[in-house]
């Protein structure tokens, strides 16, 4: 197979520390598709855009810049699997590149730890790399599938911080996107459209911590819309959204007395299954909501 594309794999917090399956899935599935994800040693929290952005944007810039510099020192572009991380790492990189004044401020701070942001690398979400025909593309994904997820209806949750604000980003429409559905279809599953697909999961902006009931009520609205179309599972591109949907369902049951048992899987976990990884290898048992009904359907 052709020369593999190498990236510094930025993990963030929730993937490695709550859903390790998605971490190993990303590394192994990507390898099969010619993308090599190398550990980004010493990376920290991106930091959480909601929390840090709300407290002091300058701290947010500086902290994210530190992670960027680690990758600059590796001389590799960053790949990541979390929308929240994407907002911090991609957006700060983008801002620092075009705003000299900001870059000056940040480098003032980084001097304290003998680091300097140079703006030499780019940042990508693994999903966009997989979709990009230059790097991988739908066909390669199809070809890598050994156990197609036949007969599974899957609802896609895009999340917010990957594609919005549209003007800053490069993903085109944020009203009726379909590219992730295409990636789901490539795994042999059936993507299903549902009402208000682009609505937020409810966790962001520190709201999950500030007013859990409020944030869960938003999640609940989405779950209702997804259940309406009888989806077997919901897939996401963001461990934080995943946490909100997965652990959130348990909290929703406790607090609102409604039960859905809707399996929630990161796209990398779906890809892993389709490429023949076992549920054990994906640590699906760590999910709050059992993925078994879904697994029975597809395996």
């Amino acid at each position: 197979m052709e020369s593999s594309h190498q990236y510094a794999f930025y993990l963030g917090c929730i993937a490695p520390n709550r859903y390790p399956g998605s971490e190993s899935a990303s590394i192994r599935t990507a390898k099969k598709l010619g993308i090599e994800l190398l550990p980004l040693k010493g990376a920290s929290c991106c930091p959480a855009p909601g929390a840090f952005g709300s407290i002091d944007l300058n701290v947010w810039y500086a902290m994210a810049a530190r992670n960027l510099v680690l990758a600059e020192q590796m001389g590799k572009d960053i790949a990541l699997i979390c929308n929240g991380c994407y907002k911090s790492i991609w957006e700060v990189n983008h801002k620092l590149k075009k705003n000299a004044e900001l870059r000056k401020m940040v480098n003032e701070v980084l001097k304290e730890i003998d680091m300097e942001y140079k703006g030499t690398i780019d940042v990508f979400h693994l999903a966009e790399l997989l979709y990009d025909p230059e790097i991988c593309g739908l066909q390669k994904i199809k070809d890598s599938v050994t156990t197609p997820l036949k007969g599974a209806k899957i609802a896609v949750h895009y999340g917010c911080h990957l594609m919005k604000p549209r003007k800053e980003r490069h993903f085109g429409t944020t009203e009726h996107p379909y590219w992730v559905e295409e990636m789901v279809a490539a795994l042999g599953a059936e993507p299903v459209e549902y009402r208000n697909k682009m609505q937020c999961c409810g966790a962001g902006g520190g709201v999950r911590g500030y007013d859990i009931v409020h944030s869960l009520d938003i999640t609940n609205e989405k779950l209702i819309n997804i259940m309406e179309v009888k989806a077997d599972a919901v897939t996401d591109l963001c461990p934080f959204c995943q946490l909100q949907f997965d652990r959130g369902q348990i909290e929703i049951e406790e607090k609102f007395g409604v039960k859905y048992n809707l399996p929630v899987l990161h796209y990398c976990e779906l890809l892993g299954l389709a490429q023949g990884m076992t549920p054990q290898e994906l640590a699906l048992d760590l999910h709050g909501i059992s993925c078994e009904p879904f697994l029975e359907k597809v395996l």
């Binding site: 490695p16 709550r18 971490e23 944007l57 902290m63 530190r66 917010c160 966790a203 007013d211 760590l286």
Partner: protein
Amino acid sequence: MAKVKGYPEALENKLRDRRFYGEDTNPEFTKTVKKISDTIAHMCYQCGTCTASCPSAPRSSYRIRKFMRRAVLGFENEALTDPDLWLCTTCYSCTDRCPRDIAPTDVIMAMRNLAFKRDIIPVNFLKTVQAIYTTGHGVPNNDVNRTARKKLGMAADPPTTHSYPEFIPGIQKILDYFKLKANADRIVKEREG
């Protein structure tokens, strides 16, 4: 300034003077918000597209349009002391649809930054800071997860600050540069003793 009527407290609250007084507005506030948010916060024409796009609005009294209005008129205190300020999930739907090409989400973030300067901040935001200060992670690893990772044939800890704690002092330096940890500890202490 709203007039204090000198009634007994209960009545004073019930009959609070709710008029819009010019003195309650601060033109500087509009400018500062513009500067921090890097968006034309003063250009809002109150069409309501933001509120109608907002996932929080239908389930609360949070009205981003109101915050935009406060930004335009410079109602600093009213904006920064309103607990609804913290109900924005930063989903950016308003930003994508705003016909005036304003980024209301970033206006909210700017106001939150200004609120923090007055120690107005929900504790959970500060807990994240504390966690990162000590571990480098907002959501740190735990034993259940460590065993799970091992089962997957991975290192118990990810190759982040968890496996390379020597990077943590650097992170602490950055946070201390902004006195963030100190302030966080102080405020948490005040709230929770």
